[in-house]
């Protein structure tokens, strides 16, 4: 046993070393952003760059959060992301269920077509959407932007949910039917609870897609529905970049998604595992 442990030790060291290296690689930009948000204007643009602030300050947060339009933009971002997630799940879950359970040729074409829409550049969809939203009278509204964001997240939702439904044995539903449930009841009371982890994964991806989206928000909103990514980008002007304000607002904007991910972590892991064990 001890010999086995000894032989495994170098492997563990390598694995841990790799893990730390990857974590640093992924985490450093965000850590640097966080540290910059506490720097004075001079430290923020120091040449060469300095990692730690020479003087810690909360001024950037005070300035960023008191900037006109920041709080409404945060509310808009949340509302748009929640709506878009709801649309995405409401449309994607039944679509994925139908595709995986009925297995028709049209269903297969549909799922491939959904994937193809992911290949279309966003800007190519953006210009027609501007006109469509205007004709519908929902330009510069949260619901209009949420619909636009759903065009991004829906294909992914369908694909993700399809893989999760595939992992649920048909026998489970058949057993429920034997016990007197119809298909809808079996879907609601048996299948959906089993794929709740998958739902969490799909929801968080849909939420993130909307939360971070920039181009549609730029093209489709003006004042009422403007979201935070646009406000963050506004710190970059022709004559310079307010690093302090930009990083402070970016840090604040990161908090909800970090909390959401932590809160749903168990479901996410369970959901990913569910998709992975499909035999």
């Amino acid at each position: 046993m001890n010999g086995l442990e000894t032989r495994r030790r170098p492997t563990r060291v390598i694995l841990w070393g790799t893990l730390v290296a990857v974590l640093v690689l992924y985490g450093f930009p965000f850590v640097y952003l966080l540290l910059t948000s506490f720097k004075t204007p001079l430290d923020a643009i120091a040449v060469p760059p300095q990692v730690l602030p020479s003087q810690w300050t909360l001024d950037n947060y005070v300035a960023a959060l008191s900037k006109e339009g920041v709080v409404p933009a945060l509310i808009n971002s949340g509302a748009t992301a929640v709506l878009s997630t709801a649309f995405s799940l409401a449309l994607g879950v039944p679509a994925a269920y139908a595709i995986t359970r009925y297995r028709t040729p049209s269903g297969r074409i549909f799922v491939v077509a959904a994937l193809v829409t992911r290949m279309v550049p966003t800007i190519a969809v953006g210009a027609p959407l501007v006109e469509t939203m205007r004709r519908l009278g929902i330009s510069d509204t949260t619901i209009g932007l949420a619909i636009a964001h759903t065009t991004i997240s829906l294909p992914l939702s369908i694909w993700l949910m399809s893989s999760f439904f595939e992992a649920v044995p048909v026998e489970l539903e058949e057993a429920a039917k034997v016990d007197g449930s119809d298909r809808l009841q079996a879907f609601r009371h048996v299948v959906l609870p089993v794929v709740s982890g998958g739902l969490a994964v799909t929801a968080i991806f849909a939420f993130l897609a909307s939360w971070n989206e920039f181009l549609f928000a730029l093209l489709l909103t003006s004042v009422r529905a403007q979201t935070t990514p646009i406000v963050i980008a506004n710190f970059q002007t022709q004559f310079g970049l307010d690093w302090g304000g930009m990083t402070a607002l970016s840090a604040v904007y990161s908090v909800p998604v970090i909390l959401l991910t932590l809160a749903l972590q168990r479901h996410i892991v369970a959901g990913l595992t569910l998709g992975a064990v499909k035999g």
Binding site: P72, A79, V82, A86, A225, Q226, Q236
Partner: protein, 435 residues
């Protein structure tokens, strides 16, 4: 039991989402304010940094006319995409747009002529370069709303030091003053490049050399007296490899020994920071920055400003102007033009904004001798100079800058660069773009 519990949580979550959806769907709007497109309202698209410039004018307009002016703030890069998309669609969500000078020719077909606003009195009170720039295809397509220019920043503590004055006089044979010519600039840059703490390392440089932005070199080109900057947009002839452009590039790169290393990557923010950290004795930079020195900058209270330096042709900068334009697609043509005329008439309201930039000569002149606005005379002199000319009015300009001028400059500031060959290569690349 567990299944039921999970199902319950799921139902609760779904119900929550549904309720939120319904509420928001009924609202059908966002948290950012009132609806657009209403009567008695003008929507103005403006770049992030420019909103503050227009806000006092918009407020006064609303007070005097009852028309609300909604300033829609967008990031600099995004503003171009938004305007391009909307003008292309034939319908716009805005009635007025603030356009960067370099975008005017790209958007000229989508905006209404403003010829009736450009009276002789108006033209007399605008810098010649701005009047030229506003005219595309024979029509005035934008009214200048604010403008900027590079000016000379220098350290008053260094220039005022009696020891420096005496040493400079002894070495160069003339007094140490803020330089006005290429020769003086180079002399002063050389003089101040030194090791101030005796550790064997240079820690004070006379100037910076920016390799990551092109505008300063373009100003240098104009300082030679060159009247065809890079290319003639009408004929398509490319002049970038002529003698004046080469002289400008040679002077520009001749300052490298007196500038911090890393010129190829140095942009506006980097140069500004080097100056604030006390590592530069002089800097050529946009005029608005004079009022924005950070409180903890080492050079706070020790900054002087002067007009941009002169080459063989004279003083020259590059006008960094913004224009108000009216999209052809808006139904509020008359109201939009009325606002633009109002903005011109009350241009001086922008003096007290964060950027503090205006467009009218009289607005700049109104601050002569006013403490805190020492940058105005320097900007005024630079912009009034006959050598200060606008950038070429070609829709391809942004592409030329990104794919030719900036890469060319980055190569030029590298050791052993052949400036003539680089300009010749750039000529070929620009010809391919504009053909």
């Amino acid at each position: 039991m567990k299944l039921r519990s999970t199902s319950g949580r799921l139902r609760t979550a779904m119900a929550g989402i549904a309720v939120a959806s319904v509420i928001l769907a009924i609202a059908g709007c966002g948290a950012g304010g009132s609806s657009q497109g209403a009567a008695g309202k003008l929507t103005v698209l403006v770049e992030g940094g420019g909103k503050a410039e227009l806000q006092p004018i918009a407020d006064l307009y609303q007070k005097e006319t009852g028309t609300t002016v909604e300033l829609v703030e967008l990031p600099y890069d995004g503003l171009y995409d938004r305007i391009q998309t909307e003008l292309g669609s034939g319908k716009t969500s805005f009635d007025v747009a603030a356009l960067d000078a370099i975008w005017l020719s790209a958007f000229s077909t989508g905006v209404s002529p403003l010829d009736d606003l450009f009276t002789d009195d108006v033209k007399r009170d605008l810098f010649p370069g701005l009047v030229t720039e506003a005219q595309v295809g024979g029509s005035y397509v934008g009214m200048p709303v604010w403008t900027n220019s590079e000016i000379l920043y220098y350290r008053t503590d260094l220039f005022g030091d009696p020891k420096n004055k005496a040493a400079f006089q002894a070495k160069y044979g003339y007094p140490l003053v803020p330089p006005t010519t290429w020769k003086q600039y180079k002399d002063v840059a050389e003089f101040f490049t030194r090791d101030t703490n005796g550790d064997g390392q240079t820690d004070l440089y006379g100037t910076d050399v920016k390799g990551a932005v092109e505008t300063e070199w373009l100003a240098t080109v104009s300082q030679t007296g060159e009247k065809t900057m890079v290319l003639d947009p009408k004929s398509g002839d490319v002049s970038i490899d002529d003698a004046d452009h080469l002289a400008a590039l040679n002077f520009y790169t001749s300052l490298l020994p007196y500038a911090p290393p890393g010129a190829a990557q140095l942009d506006w923010a980097g140069a500004q920071n080097l100056f604030y950290q006390g590592k530069l004795a002089m800097m050529r930079f946009w005029g608005h920055a004079y009022t924005q020195t950070p409180a903890n900058a080492k050079v706070k209270g020790k900054i002087g400003v002067a007009p941009m330096i002169a080459g063989p042709g004279g003083i020259a900068g590059v006008p960094g102007a913004w224009y108000l334009s009216v999209p052809k697609a808006t139904e509020k043509q008359a109201e939009a033009k009325k606002f633009i005329a109002f903005a011109y008439a009350h241009n001086d309201l922008s003096i007290k904004t964060s950027l503090g930039l205006v467009a009218r000569i009289s607005a700049f002149e109104s601050q002569a001798g006013v403490a805190g606005h020492e940058n105005y005379p320097a900007i005024l002199t630079t912009l009034k100079s006959p050598e200060t000319i606008a950038r070429p009015a070609t829709p391809k300009w942004q592409e030329i800058v990104t794919s030719v001028l900036t890469p060319m400059l980055q190569k030029a500031v590298a050791k052993g660069a052949n400036n003539a060959a680089l300009l010749k290569q750039a000529k070929g690349q620009i010809q391919a773009i504009v053909k």
